[in-house]
């Protein structure tokens, strides 16, 4: 697959070139949606390099911020259009935990990879996940925590989704500092994501994005 210069610049974390490239593309009359897709292709390069061990969280954060900054004029032009996304993720830090860093990174990286994120924030009530699933019909639910004390809250949140008859409609991804596969088994989640990029890879696979 050929990669455009703009996508390559983002993949290489060349911030100036990305911002300039977007400005030039718009000035030359390119469709904003096409330019946005080039930026998303750049984020795919970042994701591949992360998975190959060339990039780390630092690069995920920087690339997502370049994406946001350079993409701002595109978002402005696209705000009245319904944007195609690969799918939707309802995301939140579970009840009794106020830590938002991991969740925020996941939201940023997922968004820049073309996945719509409904961010419920921190200390999310169990029922709020259910309400959001009913409203937004996501394929994915992401839950985060930094405290072992809220493993039971995570478990209850998933049970609440099940009790509402919605469990089969969503894939539940979990992550966070003390979380591991044993936690995923305990709380009844589908996939444990060690990193934000793990989450993106899992989400893309589930959503059938190549």
């Amino acid at each position: 697959m050929t990669v455009s210069n703009l996508a390559q610049s983002l993949g290489d974390l060349n911030e100036e070139a990305v911002i300039q490239g977007v400005e030039e593309a718009l000035a030359a009359g390119q469709a904003p949606l096409g330019v946005l897709q080039e930026l998303q292709a750049g984020m795919t390069i970042v994701g591949e390099r992360f998975e190959a061990g060339e990039y780390f969280l630092s690069e995920l954060i920087y690339s997502a911020d370049i994406f946001k900054t350079a993409g701002a004029p595109l978002q402005e032009r696209l705000k009245d259009q319904v944007q195609e996304t690969h799918g939707t993720l309802v995301l939140g830090t579970v009840k009794n935990d106020i830590h938002d860093f991991g969740k925020d990174i996941v939201a940023t990286v997922m968004t820049s990879n073309g996945i719509k994120v409904v961010d419920l924030g921190v200390n999310v009530e169990h029922q709020a996940f259910v309400d959001a699933i009913k409203e937004h019909k996501p394929a994915l639910v992401g839950m985060s925590c930094l405290l072992t004390t809220v493993f039971d809250d995570m478990k209850t949140a998933i049970e609440t989704i099940k009790a509402a008859g919605l469990r089969d409609q969503v894939t539940v991804l979990i992550g966070g500092g003390p979380v591991d596969q044993a936690t995923a088994d305990y709380v009844g989640a589908d996939i444990y994501c060690r990193t934000a990029q793990d989450g993106v890879s899992a989400a893309k696979k589930i959503l059938g994005v190549s």
């Binding site: 969280l57 630092s58 003390p178």
Partner: protein, 372 residues
């Protein structure tokens, strides 16, 4: 069973730990648990008391861990939640004040430190800037910390009086951890890319002050060891070129200074440091401890550093909370067999979590004793 005086028991346990640090085979692998919250839950003491009442915290921590069996030491016998604000330049939600009485404290990450503060550090000097930061943005923190520090000698004495070694009752860390906590992890990482020279200059200004403070604490308390902590400096979060520039040289200087003062630097390294284990060979052999939390591959650490550095850890929090005593015991015996018996100290990976089952924490302590 030989009856020993408290002094003899203390000497035996101290030797056990020192032998492990020096990469010798001790008479038995030492076990040195860590963490203030679980003792509160185990002893029925409110978490708000553990968080803010130092005499209650040290009595509870010592009683809870001593009650488990033949422990050799406690990493830190005294606690006050303000220490988190002091080292991470962050607000903390405190039980009994911002949270219900018996809930665990939580760091309330917000951008308290601004990008302009790097200039302020360079203009004012790190020491004066830090004093002003605490006074203006974390009011009361300095006073609370001083009150906490005043109790530490009695906490150490209470621990020693039980024949238990207070191994690492103080924490030092590198400028990265301070700034990252104050700026938030996201903003700070962006600073590394966009204003790296300024960040580095501020770090270079801060480091000598932090080292002098650390030297003062080691001397003042006569410390055997102390934590030199790494949380957000972990390899897994940072590209190698950033880690080599903003992290490792600062740890090197702190470790060298702690050793010069005669203390054992315990690299309390949370999260995953596997990528850079090889670099830790640059620290002096047999004088430093690498303490892992279950996220770094401890078996890889043994392979790379086993003949160079004592390793401590690393029963994972989820195993304490969700596992069975058999599973905890099996894991600990595997650690003793494969990481030990030379140069190994058995401990929890970071803190014993508040949700740990009592029988699981006891299973860790029991694992060091030979079965009759």
């Amino acid at each position: 069973m030989v009856d020993r005086t408290t002094e003899e028991l203390y000497a035996l346990r101290e030797k056990r730990i020192r032998d492990a640090v020096a990469l010798k085979v001790p008479d038995r692998v030492p076990v040195v648990p860590n963490g203030p919250a679980w003792p509160g839950r185990a002893m029925g003491v409110k978490i708000s008391e553990i968080a803010t009442n130092v005499p209650v915290s040290y009595r509870t921590i010592i009683d809870a861990y001593a009650g488990l069996g033949d422990i050799d030491g406690i990493q830190s016998p005294a606690y006050h939640v303000v220490t988190l604000s002091i080292q991470w330049l962050s607000k903390v939600k405190v039980p009994g004040r911002d949270l219900p009485d018996d809930e665990l404290w939580q760091v309330d990450e917000a951008e308290l430190m601004t990008a302009e503060d790097y200039d302020a550090i360079l203009a004012e000097g790190f020491g004066p800037w830090l004093a002003r930061y605490y006074a203006e943005r974390l009011p009361g923190a300095t006073e609370e910390f001083e009150a906490f520090a005043a109790h530490i000698p009695e906490a150490l004495e209470a621990c020693r009086a039980r024949g238990i070694v207070p191994f690492t009752p103080a924490v030092a860390t590198v400028p990265y951890e301070y700034f990252c906590g104050g700026r938030t992890m996201k903003e700070f990482m962006l600073d590394l890319f966009r204003k790296g020279d300024k960040v580095q200059a501020a770090m270079d200004e801060a480091l000598p002050v932090l080292i002098e403070n650390m030297r003062g604490v080691i001397r003042g308390l006569g410390l055997m060891g102390l934590w030199i902590g790494g949380w957000r400096t972990a390899s897994e979060f940072l590209a190698p070129r950033l880690w080599e520039r903003f992290v490792f040289p600062y740890f090197q200087k702190m470790v060298e200074a702690a050793i010069e003062e005669g203390a054992i630097p315990v690299l309390h390294f949370d999260a995953n440091w596997t990528r850079d284990l090889e670099r830790l060979k640059e620290f002096p052999k047999g004088k430093v401890v690498l303490s892992l939390d279950g996220k770094t591959d401890i078996f890889k650490a043994k392979e790379i550093l086993g003949d160079h550095m004592c390793i401590m850890g690393d029963v994972p929090p989820s195993l304490f909370s969700l596992g069975t005593p058999q599973e905890v015991g099996d894991y600990c015996r595997r650690l003793i067999r494969e990481i030990g018996p030379a140069g190994f100290i058995l401990s929890s990976g970071c803190d014993v979590p508040i949700t740990a089952k009592y029988e699981n924490v006891k299973a860790m302590v029991d694992a060091v004793s030979p079965v009759d």
